[in-house]
Amino acid sequence: MSVRFLAAFALACWLPVAALAQGFGGLGTTSEGYAVPSPDGTISFPADHAAHPDYRIEWWYVTANMTGPDGTPYGLQWTLFRSAFRPDGKPGSQFWMGHAAVTTPDKHFVAERRARGGIGQADVDVEPFNAFIDDWALKADEGRDIDRVSMAASGADFAFYVKLIAQGPLVLQGINGYSRKSESGTASYYYSQPAYALKGTLKLPSGDVAVTGSAWLDREWSSQPLSGGQRGWDWFSLSFEDGHKMMAFQLREAEGKSFTSATWITPQGDPTPIDNGELQLEPLAISDVGGRDVPTSWRLRLPSRDVDVTVEALNTQAWMATSIPYWEGPVTVSGNRKGRGYLEMTGYDRPDG
Amino acid sequence: MLIDAQNIHKSFATQDGPLPVLRGVDLQLDKGETLALTGESGSGKSTLLYLIAGLDSVDDGTISVAGRQVHGLDDQGRAELRRETVGIVFQQFNLIPSLTVGDNLTFHARLAGRENEAWTAELAERLGLTDFLRRYPEQLSGGQQQRVAIGRALAGRPKVVLADEPTGNLDEETGEQVAQLLLDLVRDTGAGLLVVTHSLRLANRLNKRVHLANGKLA
């Protein structure tokens, strides 16, 4: 999620280099004029599936682990980012960006779309739910809500069309959807659908692949994503074979410190927030990704839930060479629990990216 | 034998056909010897000097200067001869107008790679040029210019000095002085001297004298 924050941020300022030089043009530390998440806030559906233009940044983020007919594992990502230029909440003050990717064991396909708000090129409707940018869409099926959606995206050399059917309830992250991001109190609103069943087709240069699998939706919006000194983010969404799921992240701070957070989700979809410090993350292997050093293998421990696992990238080269670059790809889980999931890492672009 | 010219023939092309100037001339000059070559205007005495100097080539005959064959040399070879073996003094001085007196004085020696500062200074001193070294030739009188030319010819200590009417452009008194300087310096360097002149006074001061008439020496 740090990635997401960073991404959205950089989008908002857009000038990655100039922006960094000026501390994100001052935007990174202040949220003046924008609404700010509050611990007392409540999340309600379907209204909160829509955009919250009075908050600065927001996303609709789907990742999926899939298997082809021959047992080959695949991963996909479909993301719609919203970022406000101005806190006036007007459609014309919104900037939209889509990221899509398909990861195979040896290939990684990426595409990006950008649009301004207010002209109909990108938006999120509710009733019926439809999040779209250009021809990419995450759209509720006829007569259904977010529990049953079709998802499509395409790039120069790939495309995918999949159907998602929720297998459980929506999960509020943090405390009733209020997810803290630092000791100093920065936070976001955050909910997920961690249990979609997926079925569909990947169009790859080698041909069409029928896939089945599971997908995970994250919804998050905020105005004050990073506190000063936070440099990057390692975020995990893991589905274990016994039906438990876990969302876990650490925000890396200076001098090797970090802020950690996690949510333990039962097979029935009941979440338990895990406090800062309980989650232990340790990089096991560093990969050379286009000249960058990226930790693509991790040891992840959560003693209270008897979790001690190794998380390994399916394809270490899952680099998102988009306007704001980051690493995002499917992972496999081994150790005392087995499973699969997704890993997102930011702040590994050189030197300060 | 410094100069040994045998049976020299030379003629010039004119509108009425070739005009023979030299018809079988023999001329010898020994080491330390001074020789006057006299003759009427147009008798070919300057031509003979130029042939010996390697400025022109013979039609027939042989010339050796300080042991070097001159006849049959190409331009390069003749240039080398003029540079290294002979020193020439002209009636017209032929100084390089854009170089100072000092530079003119050492020019030939430098060409030959034989520049000798002490000797140059002595030459300047004896030629009375010490005060004029930084001037340009056009700022000097004729006698002074000819003294520069004599100095230039001797600065490289050539084995042979050739002079073509060296006093021809000077008044009698100046000519006398310049001739004396030339003779003194040649004697001191031990070079051989061949002077073309129509001045009997000058001719009489040399060891030997030959007269050119009708293309032959008498």
Partner: protein
């Protein structure tokens, strides 16, 4: 080696003693190189601008989608295509008038255009900006720094941020800002197809059947279009270089002559011929590199001064965007040095050859190199006539721009060669006149001696002739062009003012409203069309006396306007007719236009593209989708202002959408003047170079004049009188040259107007003669020659008698 060094230092010592000569040589060569380099630099800059234009974000190098009927695309169309999976981006282009300044606006969507040259890292530390400052109606504008300087003080513009590499006089803004600035809400000029398109989008025809795909116009096309202009400049550069070469030839000749004694002495002292020649070559090469460097520097300054005008010209004539500031390029640096070396080699070849063949014992006195036998004069005359004859043959047989240039070159060289024999003839005639008139001995000597100077001055006089002819020729062309153009503007802009409605709907209302309040409302409608393979336009023309009375027709059928009104005939512009070899009665067709015979040909200056005009009703029938938005309005001139106010009040049409005739005329004339300012500047410089050539030649001669004049002085003429005669002699030679330059100049003008312009632009302009200009030019040339002669003459007058006497005492 030692001999070589000594020889070289002796050779170089000459320049230390004659710094004036050194400066003349370097300056002459520098000037020649400078003119050449300036032209090269301008061409090189322009060409790189075309390449840059091809890479513009506006997508000149990409295929685009445009409305088949030429109308505007809407943002809705854009979104529809994007939502259907097509990767397209919007471009809205237009012109904005602010006072007298016209600015090109390019609106883009930075979010959907693939990267492009836009740099959102900001202009500078003082003006940091971010993408959100760019996007939106009130977004900032990016512009080249020189554009920003140019627009200083112009009101009602967005905040301007400098960015290198953007086209000149152009603001790059967000699409929304462009729509606001141009008052074209929701409008898009074209959609640029991005590369690569994603997999699986629906066919274009299913999504947007009214859009057609237009393949990119490449930078190469633009380059080809402007080739003729650059060819023109290059020819000018070569001409001036040739003139400059005369100077170099003169000074090198002088330097060689003055050093003949030294060359001989060096050889006598034992420097071999080879060493001497090599030393001379090294010396000349060093001089050439030095002069070339100075020349390139001068040239770049010159180019910097001229480039803005060239840029304007190219834009106005061809719509080519050329940066007004000069880049630093290795190619024209190298070409400048190379041309200096080449020029020196050409100029020195003869002198070097003479050194090679100079016998060591030849008289060391400066040879009378100026004395050229009558045989040479005959040879010059013969070759001059051969050149002119060749030109005449080519004129009859060949066509094309290159042929036109060759003809011009032949005429100029031939005329220059004919100058010495002709001048000789004229002076011979003067001499016999003087004799017959019983003139005194002095007069007789004067004529004979003047004649004798011709060979020595012939190169300088040839240079002067070429410069004068170029002046007269180009002056006549520009003058003819201007006269014709002004008259043509009067005819063509018959309506008192022109108004643009926002859209077709408003246009309809405006038309009806105007009809009752004015003498006539003449709709102006047009659509782009491909005419005989070239991009052009079809216009609709109203059936009205304004056109019948004024429209500048070059050829016409007797009932031309009736035929056009009935749709039975059409008009084509001159360039279309010439390029495609069309004449009255030929049938023209294009997409949407059925074959229709030509009823008339009209002149259409300042536009290289083909045009067709059909009757308005026929146009409406053929292109029903093109609304009537622009109108020419006929009203008494004194009513114009009031009417504008009324229109403004009634329709809310802004002042900038109403242009009166006089404003257009002013604008057109200023475009025209700029077009030829470059030519003017080069003209003046060429003349200056020629004057310099005369000066150096006279100086050269002066050193040899003393022995020629001394006997006359000894026989009883005063020095003062001799000096005066020297001046008179120069004046007469200059005058002869001026007189002979006039016909050459006129021939050149005719070739430019009737051959080159037709080939390059497609227009033929009737030639007009400006005698006053010749007189002025003649006086100028005379003055230049007299000035050049003044220094040697003064030296003559002030020379100490002793120096004159020396001639006798020194002579052998």
């Amino acid at each position: 080696m030692r001999g070589f060094q000594s020889a070289l230092s002796a050779l170089l010592s000459h320049w230390r003693r004659r710094p004036g000569q050194f400066v003349t040589l370097v300056l002459g060569l520098s000037l020649a190189t400078a003119l050449w380099t300036a032209v090269q630099a301008i061409n090189s800059e322009a060409r790189s601008s075309y390449d840059r234009a091809a890479n513009q974000v506006a997508g000149a190098d990409r295929a685009t989608l445009e409305k088949a009927d030429g109308g505007a695309i809407s943002m809705g169309d854009f979104v529809r295509l994007r939502r259907a999976g097509w990767l397209v981006t919007t471009v809205l282009e237009g012109r904005l008038q602010r006072g007298r300044v016209i600015i090109r606006i390019v609106g883009i969507d930075p979010l959907t255009s693939s990267a492009g040259p836009l740099n959102f890292e900001g202009g500078s530390a003082e003006t940091p900006y971010e993408i959100q400052d760019f996007i939106g109606q009130n977004g900032l504008a990016l512009a080249a720094p020189e554009t920003i300087a140019e627009l200083d003080g112009v009101p009602n513009l967005p905040r301007l941020i400098p960015q290198e590499g953007l086209p000149p006089r152009t603001l790059t803004v967000d699409i929304a800002a462009a729509q606001a600035l141009l008052q074209r809400p929701d409008a898009v000029s074209r959609l640029v197809l991005l590369d690569p398109q994603p997999v699986g989008a629906a066919p274009l025809g299913d999504i947007a059947p009214d859009l057609t795909r237009v393949e990119p116009q490449t930078g190469q096309d633009l380059a080809r279009l402007t080739d003729s202009f650059h060819l023109n400049l290059t020819a000018f550069g070569l001409l001036t270089f040739a003139v400059g070469l005369f100077i170099v030839h003169g000074t090198i000749g002088l330097a060689f002559e003055q050093r003949r004694v030294m060359f001989r002495t060096l050889r006598v002292l034992g420097v071999s011929l080879k060493q001497l020649v090599v030393a001379l070559v090294v010396e000349l090469a060093a001089l050439a590199v030095l002069a070339g460097t100075v020349g390139v520097l001068l040239g770049s300054v010159l180019a910097t001064l001229l480039l803005p005008n060239v840029a304007d010209t190219l834009r106005d004539l061809y719509g080519a965007q050329v940066s007004g500031s000069l880049g630093w390029r290795a190619d024209w640096w190298a070409s400048g040095i190379a041309i200096a070396l080449l020029g020196t080699a050409i100029a020195a070849a003869g002198s070097l050859w003479r050194i090679r063949s100079m016998p060591i014992l030849a008289s060391a006195q400066p040879r009378a190199w100026a004395m050229v036998s009558s045989k040479t004069l005959v040879m010059q005359a013969v070759s001059g006539f051969v050149f002119l004859g060749l030109a005449a043959v080519l004129l009859g047989l060949a066509s094309g721009i290159v042929a036109a240039f060759i003809i011009i070159a032949l005429v100029l060289v031939g005329s220059a060669l004919l100058l010495p024999p002709l001048a000789n003839r004229l002076l011979d005639f003067g001499q016999s006149l003087a004799r017959r008139a019983g003139a005194g001995a002095t007069a007789q000597w004067f004529w004979a001696d003047t004649r004798q100077q011709i060979p020595g001055l012939s190169l300088a006089l040839m240079a002067l002739l070429l410069a004068l002819a170029a002046n007269i020729g180009v002056g006549t062309m520009v003058g003819s062009f201007r006269t014709t153009f002004v008259g043509w503007l009067d005819q063509r802009l018959a309506a008192e003012f022109y108004v643009n409605a926002r859209d077709g709907q408003q246009g309809e209302k405006l038309k009806i409203w105007l009809q009752t309040r004015t003498d006539a409302v003449l709709p102006i409608v047009e659509t782009e069309a491909t005419l005989d393979g070239r991009k052009g336009a079809i216009f609709g023309v109203a059936n009205h006396a304004t056109y019948r009375d004024n429209w500048p027709l070059l050829e016409r059928t007797p009932q031309v306007w009736d035929e056009v009104a009935r749709g039975e005939g059409l008009l084509v512009n001159e360039q279309f007719a010439r390029r495609s070899g069309l004449s009255l009665g030929d049938e023209i067709s294009a997409a949407g236009l059925p074959p229709t015979p030509i009823a008339g040909v009209y002149s259409d200056y300042g536009n290289p593209a083909p045009q067709v005009m059909v009757g308005l009703s026929k146009f409406s029938a053929l292109f029903p989708n093109i609304p009537q938005q622009r109108f020419g309005v006929r009203v008494p001139p004194e009513r114009v202002e009031a009417l504008k106010n009324e229109i403004s009040a009634e329709f809310g049409i802004e002042e900038r959408s109403m242009i009166d005739q006089s404003a257009i005329k002013d604008l057109s004339l200023s475009v025209f003047e700029r077009t030829f300012r470059v030519t003017d500047a080069l003209n003046v410089l060429t003349l200056a170079v020629a004057g310099f050539a005369i000066f150096t030649s006279l100086l050269t001669l002066a050193t040899m004049r003393v022995p020629q004049l001394a006997p006359v002085w000894a026989l009883g003429l005063t020095q003062r009188r001799l000096a005066a005669l020297e001046l008179a002699r120069t004046a007469i030679l200059a005058l002869v040259t001026v007189v002979l330059a006039v016909p050459v100049g006129l021939a050149l003008a005719w070739l430019l107007l009737a051959v080159l312009n037709v080939e390059a632009f497609g227009w033929r302009i009737p030639m007009q003669v400006f005698v006053g200009d010749w007189l002025r030019l003649g006086l100028l040339a005379l003055l230049a020659a007299l000035l050049a002669a003044a220094i040697p003459a003064r030296r003559m007058a002030a020379m100490a008698p002793a120096d004159l006497v020396k001639v006798f005492s020194h002579e052998r």
